[in-house]
Symmetry: C2
Subunit: 403 residues, 2 copies
C-alpha cells in the first residue's frame, strides 16, 4: 500500500475544507447531536458524483444532477430526518432554497452549492428549521466529525476516514464520510458518501475514478436489497495540494485511483457492518466466474440472500443456501465444478459435498467477519461483495420507523 491512514481523519482532513453541524430538530425521532451540516471549500472544486439508479429520485438528487453539469461546486448542505423524496415541485423548490440559503451564508452563488437529504420519504422539508439551522452552523477545519454525525439516521456509529498519498512529490489527502444502515444495495442505496481531496484532478478523470471506486465498493454492498431514492456519492477536489492536475494518463493516476478505492472500500465495509440490527460482516468472494460481471452478480446475490444472512446470524453452517443463491443469480454455474469454502474450511469440492465438523464450522461463523469463498472454476471473473447478517433487531428497527 502506498497510502497512509491519517489518525482520526475525516472529510476536513484535506487542505482547504471546513465543515460544521447543528441540531435543527428536523425530526425529533431520537436524541441526536446534529441533523444538519455544511461542508465548504476555500476555493471552487472540481466535482464528480454517482447517484441512485432508482427511477424515483429525491429532489436533492435531481438538483445535484443538474448542477453537476458545471463539474464545479464549492459547498454542500445536507440534512437527515427528511429525505425530501416524493415531494414533487415543492420538494425541488425546497432543495433549491436550501442551497440558496447556504450560498448566501457562505457568500457563494447558489449553483455552487450541492444538496443532500436522507430520512423519511414523502414529507416536506421543514424550511423554517432548515433556514434557522443553516444560519447557526459554525464551520471549522475540524468540523468533519460533526458532519459525519449529522448525516446518520439508523447508523450506530459515524463512518469516516482520511488517507494521504504522494503525487509529484506533494502530499495529497483524500477524506470521506458516509452514512448507511438500511436500504443499502448494489447500485447505491440510502447511502450518502461525501469525499474530499486537495488533489488537483481533471473533471473527467475525477468522474471516471469515482465510478470505478464505487463499482468495487458501494456497488458491492447490500443490507436488505432495497435501493433508495436519495443515494449520493460525491467528491470535491480543490487542488490546494499543488500537484500537477491529474488526468487518466498521469503517472500519479493509478496511485490516486488505488487510494480512492481503498477509502471507498473502507467506508462501504463500515456501512455493511453497521447494517440495521447487524452483528457481523459477511464477505462473499466469488472466483473463477465466466466474467467479472458474473462474479459481481453472484457475489451480490449471495450476500443479499435472506436465508444466507439468517444462517450467518444463527451460526448455522447451512451452506447449501450459498450454492442455491448462486444458482438463482442467473450467472453461468456448473454444479460439478463448484468449490466452496467457509473461511479456510472446504465444504464442497468439484460439486461434491465434503464431510465437515459442524461444531468447528459454527465456531468460524461465530466471528465478527464471516467469509464464504465460492470458486466456480469456469473463467477468470472475480469479485467481492459485503453484507451483514439479518437479525431480530433489523425487524424491530424497520417495523417502527415513521411512527
Amino acid at each position: 500500500m502506498t497510502y497512509k491512514t491519517i489518525p482520526n481523519g475525516t472529510i476536513t482532513s484535506p487542505g482547504g475544507f471546513s465543515a460544521g453541524a447543528i441540531f435543527a430538530n428536523i425530526k425529533a425521532w431520537k436524541e441526536k447531536p446534529f441533523d444538519m451540516a455544511i461542508l465548504s471549500s476555500d476555493i471552487p472544486c472540481r466535482v464528480a458524483a454517482v447517484f441512485t439508479t432508482n427511477k424515483i429520485k429525491a429532489a436533492p438528487v435531481i438538483l445535484c444532477q443538474n448542477r453537476l453539469k458545471n463539474k464545479r461546486a464549492q459547498a454542500l448542505v445536507v440534512n437527515s430526518g427528511c429525505a425530501n423524496a416524493c415531494t414533487s415541485e415543492q420538494g425541488l423548490a425546497d432543495a433549491e432554497q436550501m442551497a440558496a440559503l447556504c450560498a448566501s451564508k457562505l457568500g457563494l452563488v447558489s449553483d455552487q452549492v450541492m444538496v443532500a437529504s436522507t430520512g423519511v420519504i414523502g414529507t416536506y422539508l421543514p424550511m423554517d428549521k432548515i433556514g434557522q439551522g443553516i444560519e447557526k452552523i459554525a464551520l471549522s477545519p475540524n468540523g468533519g466529525h460533526d458532519l459525519a454525525q449529522a448525516i446518520m439516521t439508523t447508523d450506530t456509529v459515524p463512518k469516516e476516514i482520511a488517507v494521504s498519498i504522494e503525487i509529484d512529490g506533494k502530499q495529497v489527502t483524500i477524506g470521506g464520510v458516509c452514512k448507511g444502515a438500511g436500504m443499502i444495495h448494489p447500485n447505491m442505496a440510502t447511502m450518502l458518501c461525501f469525499l474530499t481531496t486537495d488533489a488537483a484532478v481533471e473533471a473527467d478523470f475525477l468522474q471516471t475514478a469515482l465510478k470505478a471506486a464505487a463499482d468495487v465498493s458501494f456497488n458491492m454492498i447490500t443490507i436488505d436489497g432495497d435501493t433508495s431514492t436519495n443515494d449520493t456519492l460525491m467528491i470535491f477536489a480543490n487542488g490546494l495540494a499543488g500537484n500537477k492536475t491529474l488526468r487518466e494518463d498521469s503517472p500519479g493516476a493509478s496511485v490516486f485511483q488505488s487510494a480512492l478505492n481503498e477509502v471507498c472500500i473502507y467506508l462501504a465495509k463500515r456501512i455493511a457492518r453497521d447494517g440495521e440490527g447487524a452483528t457481523k460482516l459477511i464477505e462473499i468472494i466469488v472466483e473463477g466466474a465466466a466474467s467479472i460481471e458474473d462474479a459481481r452478480i453472484a457475489a451480490r446475490t449471495i450476500a443479499s440472500s435472506s436465508l444466507v444472512k439468517t444462517a450467518v446470524y444463527g451460526c448455522d453452517p447451512n451452506w447449501g443456501r450459498v450454492i442455491a443463491a448462486a444458482g438463482r443469480s442467473g450467472v453461468q454455474v456448473s454444479e460439478a465444478r463448484i468449490d466452496l469454502y467457509l473461511g479456510q474450511m472446504n465444504l464442497m469440492k468439484a460439486g461434491r459435498v465434503l464431510p465437515f465438523d459442524k461444531q468447528e464450522a459454527s465456531k468460524i461463523m461465530g466471528g465478527e467477519e464471516v467469509v464464504f469463498r465460492l470458486c466456480l472454476n469456469l473463467g477468470k471473473g472475480k469479485a467481492i461483495a459485503w453484507g451483514c447478517d439479518l437479525t431480530e433487531e433489523y425487524i424491530a428497527v424497520n417495523g417502527d420507523y415513521t411512527t
Copy 2:
C-alpha cells in the same frame, strides 16, 4: 365463478387417486406425523410440470424433467427433511432408486413414478429409511390429507383444496396440495405443489394451462427473495371423469383454465400467508403499468421489499417504501402520474403526497390482509403479487435450521 369448492377437499378428491404417508424419521428435527408420502392413480395419467429456474437443480428435479418427456406417469413419491440437492451422481442414483422402490410396491414400471424432495441441501437421502418407509405406506382414497402433512417443512398448516366444475355435462374435479414457507420467490421456490384432476386433458394443453396458472399464482408470491433448487409444480390428469379430451380450443378449456387458476391462486396465497414467521398476507396490486410484464415485476418487487415487509409488520404507514421499491424495480415509472392506495385510503395522487390520518392507516395495516394498490397510469398492465410481513420469528426460524 363456475366452480364449486369441495368441503374438506384435497389431492385425492378427484376420482381414481389414492395416497398415503408415513413417518420415516428422515430428519428428526421436530415432531411431525409424516415425512414421506405416495400419490397414485388407478390408471396412467397425462402429466405436466413447471420446475425451479435455479441453475442448481436438485436430483429429483432432474429426474422428473427427464421423465416428463413421456408426458405420462401414474404415481409420485415425495419426502421432506432432505432436499437431495447438491448431491451429484449419488443423489441422482438415490432419486432413481426411490422411484424404483415405489414402482415396485405399486406394480408399475419405474419411469411411471415421479419423485420430489424438500428439506436441507447437501445431504444424501437416508435410503434405508426411504426404502422402509415406502414399504410401509398404506394408500387410501382419503390419503391426500396425510400427503399434505408429509410435505410440510417449516409450514405451520397444511395447504389443500379441491374444486369441481362441469365439462361436457360431466363433473370434473381438480385437487391440490402444496408446501411453502421460506425461500419462496417468483419463478418457483422451495415450493412443492401437486395437483390432480380426473379430467381428460390433452398433454400439450395441460402444460400450457399449468404454466398459465403458475404465472398468476405461484410466480406472483414471494417470501424472502430466495428461489430453491427443488421447486416443483406438477399436475396429474387421469381422465376418469369421462369428459371429451380437453384441448386448447375445446369449449370447456376456459372453464378448466379458470378453475385451475383459482386452485393455484388459493394455494399460492396460503403459502404467502404462511411464510416463515409471517403474521399477515400482503397483497400488492399494480395497475396502469406500461405492460403486463412491467406490472408483474413492479408488484413482485414491492411484495418482496424487506422494508415494505417490516413496515407492514409494524403497522407503520411508511408508504414511501412502496414507491421506492417500484422505482428501483426497473419498470417504467413516472412519479407525477402515480396514485397509491392503502386499502381504500388514497395516500398519493398524481405524484402528490396527500395528508392522511396515521392512526387510521396504522389500523388498516393491523388487519390480516394488507392491500396496497399502485396505479402507474401509463398503460393497461395489471398484476397482483402476494407476500407476507417480515418478523422476528422469520429470523428465529431461519437462523437455526440445520443445527
